[in-house]
């Protein structure tokens, strides 16, 4: 009698342990790009331990070692700056657990656990990397874990070639249902809000701008967003993509009125918005994840359609939840708007009591000589044009409390934000309401994809002033570097000052094929974002919501249950557990009707036997039953009898005669 060891407790053979180890490597390495690198060191240590195991020392790691490893690991996480409770630290902990778990993977159950955790980590990975390349990596991860699952099940009979073939077969066979689920399952709003849903660093325009912050953005060639216009795009000079408006100045830093910090005090309901004029643009934007709230627009935003997005009264549009995924929205801008409801002009005139005294004096004097507000602004811009101001990506720091004065009178080297900041300050000195606008200027039109791509490098800041009862854009950069308005930063710099360019932007600028390849890849990514990442069966969802009211968790559960139910039924049907009720053909259907009234026919009874028995039990129907039996027999067994319309009628009559 062999002793029965439950399957799950059986020790796995060496080849399977090797597979599990390899799969672990496949799973962990991609995460190292997003998590502290020393987790790789942990992986190497685990590898060493497993090496011993696979060379015959089939012992579990001692408990003390495991506890020590856990403590060191958590300590390491804390030292790596993952102190706050957020997604990053949770994932790091998860990966650490995944690594340490393998110290004791010996038995089948552990192996299965590892594979399942692997699948889950694949899902986590997709939260970080949702590019086409990331999807490919995720496919490899799924394959690896499926292989692991197979290896654990196949046990002694595991063979690499067969295992890979079967795993691929499983994955490929599953694709049609996966696609169906992906296409038709309703996209639900989050069931609960995720606290601290931050993945990676913030990018893009922040709601706080100090003069240096925009310059750091300009070092990056990463895409910021892509825009597709319905109809012709506006002229290149108009490509001012506004993101944040910053009206609160403390002498150094400009802050927005509605910020991430106070997002629960943002206005709701009927907002005092600008009234659009006649000329409008419709376009859709796919925004990369910024971990911020701001959406980008042409002047002036009047409407936005996107999940959870709305227009704020200070010339912005925002989303209450931060953008942790690429995000697609449709927007409408008007060339001109009316501002009947601007109520915060006072606020846009406020200045700190102290600091930048020299600049303030200079401004006040200039205002006096200028005569009017418009002339004053013209004089300022003229000053910038005529004096030796320079536009540079590498401005000096102006660390003192009078940083604007230092820039204006001494340094005269600055980036767009320096100029904008100074001009907005000077406007307020003269009592003109002003604000800084953070966003992007320019972009590259991609012919093959018919969209405009805007990179981080195009980051820009300019000024808006309240003149003649409306906000007007004033871009001091145009005064210091007129070329920048017409060209993207790298194009402009490469003519003017190539050494300022970051390396990545310099590389391959003049190689035609490389450029083509870049454009092609950009358009692939755009398509990916539009059709995969931001796939919305908006019509279907709209229909659902119109019918059942707003989608809530219960609806989600019901939708899932329906999906699984359909799948289960298919499965049951396939395996023969479930047989579809077939509509019986005549004359059996007629026989069934008689059976329903008088009780079932016994198995061994022929039709005439059955009818004879019924006739015995119900003598009144003797005649009718015999007539019916005769017809049924003929129809059922005479190959020459056909069931034409008259026969069918006859049959029906005879049945009804019996059922009276």
């Amino acid at each position: 009698m062999t002793q029965y060891v439950p399957i799950m407790h059986r020790v796995m053979p060496l080849p399977v342990l090797w597979v599990l180890l390899l799969v672990q490597g496949v799973m962990v390495v991609p995460f190292l790009f997003y998590l502290p690198l020393w987790l790789g060191v942990v992986f190497v240590l685990v590898l060493v331990w497993r090496w011993r195991v696979t060379h015959g020392d089939m012992r579990k790691a001692p408990r003390s070692l495991i506890i020590l490893a856990i403590l060191v690991g958590i300590g390491g996480l804390l030292l790596s700056g993952l102190r706050a409770y957020n997604l990053d630290s949770a994932v790091a902990l998860c990966v650490l657990g995944y690594l340490l778990k393998s110290l004791e993977v010996m038995r089948r159950r552990d192996g299965i656990f590892q594979a399942y955790l692997g699948y889950f980590l694949t899902g986590i990975f997709l939260l970080y990397n949702y590019t086409p390349v990331g999807a490919l990596v995720a496919i490899v991860m799924v394959l690896a874990n499926t292989l692991a699952l197979h290896a654990v099940t196949a046990d002694q009979t595991f063979r690499w070639k067969r295992g890979t073939k079967l795993s691929l077969a499983l994955m490929v066979a599953a694709v049609p249902i996966m696609v169906a689920g992906f296409l038709f399952f309703p996209r639900l709003p989050p069931l609960w809000s995720i606290p601290n849903d931050e993945r990676g660093a913030q990018t893009g325009m922040s709601d706080e701008v100090d003069p240096g912050s925009v310059a750091s953005l300009a070092q990056s060639t990463e895409p910021a967003f892509r825009v597709q216009f319905e109809g012709d795009p506006p002229p290149r000079q108009q490509w001012y993509w506004r993101g944040t408006t910053l009206g609160d100045f403390d002498g150094r830093v400009w802050r927005a009125r509605f910020r991430d910090r106070n997002r629960f005090q943002w206005p709701r309901g009927q907002l005092p918005l600008a009234q659009p004029g006649a000329e409008r643009f419709d376009y859709s934007v796919v925004l990369e994840a910024t971990q911020q709230h701001w959406l980008y627009f042409l002047d002036w935003p009047t409407q936005v359609r996107g999940q959870d997005a709305y227009v704020l009264p200070d010339g912005r549009a925002a989303r209450r939840n931060s953008l942790s995924q690429t995000y697609r929205y449709e927007a409408q801008s008007a060339e001109a708007v009316n501002w009947p409801n601007e109520t915060a002009l006072q606020w846009y005139q406020r200045l700190p009591e102290q600091g930048n005294e020299a600049l303030r004096q200079w401004g006040l004097e200039l205002r006096q000589t200028a005569g009017s507000d418009v002339a004053y602004i013209d004089a300022i811009l003229n000053h910038i044009r005529t004096e030796p101001f320079r536009y540079t990506l590498q401005p000096p720091l102006y660390p003192s409390a009078d940083s604007l004065s230092d820039f204006w009178f001494d340094g005269r080297l600055g980036f767009c934000s320096h100029y904008a900041s100074a001009v907005a300050y000077l406007a307020r000195v003269a009592g003109i309401p002003s604000r800084l606008v953070g966003g992007y200027l320019g972009g590259t039109y991609n012919q093959s994809g018919d969209f405009i791509q805007v990179r981080q490098m195009e980051a820009h800041a300019w000024v808006e002033l309240w003149l003649n009862g409306q906000w007007q854009r004033v871009d001091p950069t145009a005064a210091v570097a007129p070329g920048r308005i017409d060209l993207n930063l790298d194009d402009w710099l490469s003519e003017d000052n190539p050494s300022d360019l970051p390396f990545g932007a310099r590389f391959g600028r003049n190689l035609g094929p490389f450029n083509d390849l870049r454009f092609w890849w950009d358009s692939v990514q755009y398509q990916w974002q539009v059709s995969i990442l931001n796939y919305q069966q908006s019509n279907a969802l709209g229909l659902l919501e119109a019918r059942f009211g707003r989608i809530n968790p219960w609806h989600a559960a019901a939708a899932m249950a329906v999906f699984l139910g359909v799948l289960g039924l298919l499965m049951a049907w396939f395996t023969g557990l479930l047989q579809l009720p077939r509509r019986q053909p005549e004359p059996w259907a007629s026989l069934r009707r008689v059976e329903r009234q008088y009780g079932d026919r016994h198995a061994g009874e022929t039709v005439s036997d059955f009818m004879a028995r019924l006739a015995y039990e119900h003598p009144a129907q003797r005649e009718a039953l015999a007539r019916l039996a005769q017809l049924i027999d003929t129809l059922a067994y005479d190959p020459q009898a056909t069931l034409d319309a008259s026969r069918r009628r006859d049959l029906k009559q005879r049945v009804e005669a019996c059922l009276k």
């Binding site: 009698m1 062999t2 002793q3 029965y4 399957i7 299965i112 399942y116 699948y119 889950f120 694949t122 899902g123 997709l126 939260l127 949702y130 999807a135 995720a138 799924v142 499926t146 699952l149 197979h150 099940t153 196949a154 046990d155 002694q156 009979t157 295992g163 079967l166 077969a169 499983l170 994955m171 066979a173 599953a174 694709v175 049609p176 249902i177 996966m178 169906a180 689920g181 992906f182 399952f185 996209r187 989050p190 069931l191 609960w192 995720i194 849903d197 995924q325 990442l533 931001n534 796939y535 989600a556 899932m560 999906f563 699984l564 799948l567 499965m571 396939f574 395996t575 023969g576 557990l577």
Partner: protein, 319 residues
């Protein structure tokens, strides 16, 4: 898993109606059952968690991953079903052993199409779990279980299952083969009594003669391999190579008769007959067996012993 008794009875009846026994069982759709394992349900749970990731983090690719996992579970049903589908289990031979020993049954697995079917497991509480890897057309599998009583030892209804290749679903069939092993009674010593019906004829006619060492019988021509000690030297002097031939005389054939054990219970009688058989075999004496309704002529040798043991094992069984 045990159900309440009435339910279990109905379940058993249903199973045996759906899966009647035979010498050869071909597994098809009506015989194969298939359900997700606990591991498979866990996979479903995992897929739900991934879908939660998708919903709460608005991660489109996680929708795809979640549905992929669900769909893989579904696809695994097909892959696992293929392992059993079309498989033919054929009863081959079953052993004859002494009651109390382990008896083995041998089955042949064959497949109309050469297809790798992975490890198949034969499960029954009597032998626990026997695995066999099915690669190609034919594979033999031997199942063994202990016996406790004399008589027919049918191969019990067992469960043939496959979780290959992913363990997400288990496909199984309950198989009842029409295959019987037999257990003959354990030998117990009991004296035989002479039976009146035995014809008391001329015993010497029935003497059994066989080559031996005791009595001189005749001279015969030398054959290579004969012992030099047996050379007939007087003949050698006449240039003839002749050896002395010795024989053993034996008593008349021993009849092991059912009626020679009066007053004993049935099983004990059979045990006693088994004991005497074994003794005859050890002493290399021929014996015959008489049971009510059956008579086996006297003979010797292992095959004869097996035959008689089989007769004892089958005694009282309807044929």
């Amino acid at each position: 898993m045990r159900w309440p008794a009435p339910l279990q009875r109905r379940l058993d009846a249903w199973v045996s109606r759906r899966l009647p026994p035979g010498r050869q069982v071909a597994l098809n759709q009506s015989r194969i059952f298939i359900v997700p394992t606990r591991q498979g349900l866990l996979m479903l749970g995992l897929a739900l968690v991934v879908l939660l990731l998708a919903i709460n983090f608005e991660s489109s690719l996680n929708y795809a991953l979640g549905f992929w996992l669900v769909a893989m579970l579904w696809a695994a049903v097909h892959l696992t079903y293929r392992n059993l589908s079309g498989l033919v289990v054929q009863a081959e031979t079953a052993g004859l052993v002494e009651a109390g020993e382990n008896v083995s049954y041998s089955l042949m697995l064959s497949s109309p199409r050469t297809r790798y079917r992975g490890p198949l497991e034969f499960r029954h509480e009597d032998w626990g779990q026997v695995g066999v890897e099915m690669d190609g057309r034919d594979t033999q599998v031997t199942l063994s279980r202990s016996t406790s009583q004399r008589g027919r030892q049918p191969l019990p209804r067992f469960r043939l299952e496959s979780r290959y290749p992913f363990g997400l679903v288990v496909a199984w069939s309950h198989i009842k083969m029409d295959l019987d092993a037999w257990a003959y009674p354990e030998p117990v010593e009991q004296p035989l009594q002479p039976v009146g019906t035995e014809p008391e004829g001329d015993v010497s006619n029935d003497h059994f003669v066989q080559t031996g060492t005791e009595d001189f019988h005749s001279l015969r021509e030398y054959q290579s391999g004969d012992s030099v000690h047996r050379m007939h030297w007087p003949s050698f002097s006449r240039d003839e190579l002749v050896v002395k031939h010795f024989v053993d005389y034996q008593a008349a054939d021993q009849w092991l008769d059912w009626h020679a054990l009066p007053g004993l219970a049935v099983e004990l009688r059979l045990s006693a007959l088994a004991w005497h058989m074994l003794r005859c075999q050890q002493q290399d004496r021929p014996f015959g067996l008489r049971l009510p309704g059956l008579e086996i002529e006297p003979d010797k040798g292992q095959r004869h012993l097996e035959r008689c043991r089989r007769a004892l094992a089958e005694f009282g069984e309807l044929r």
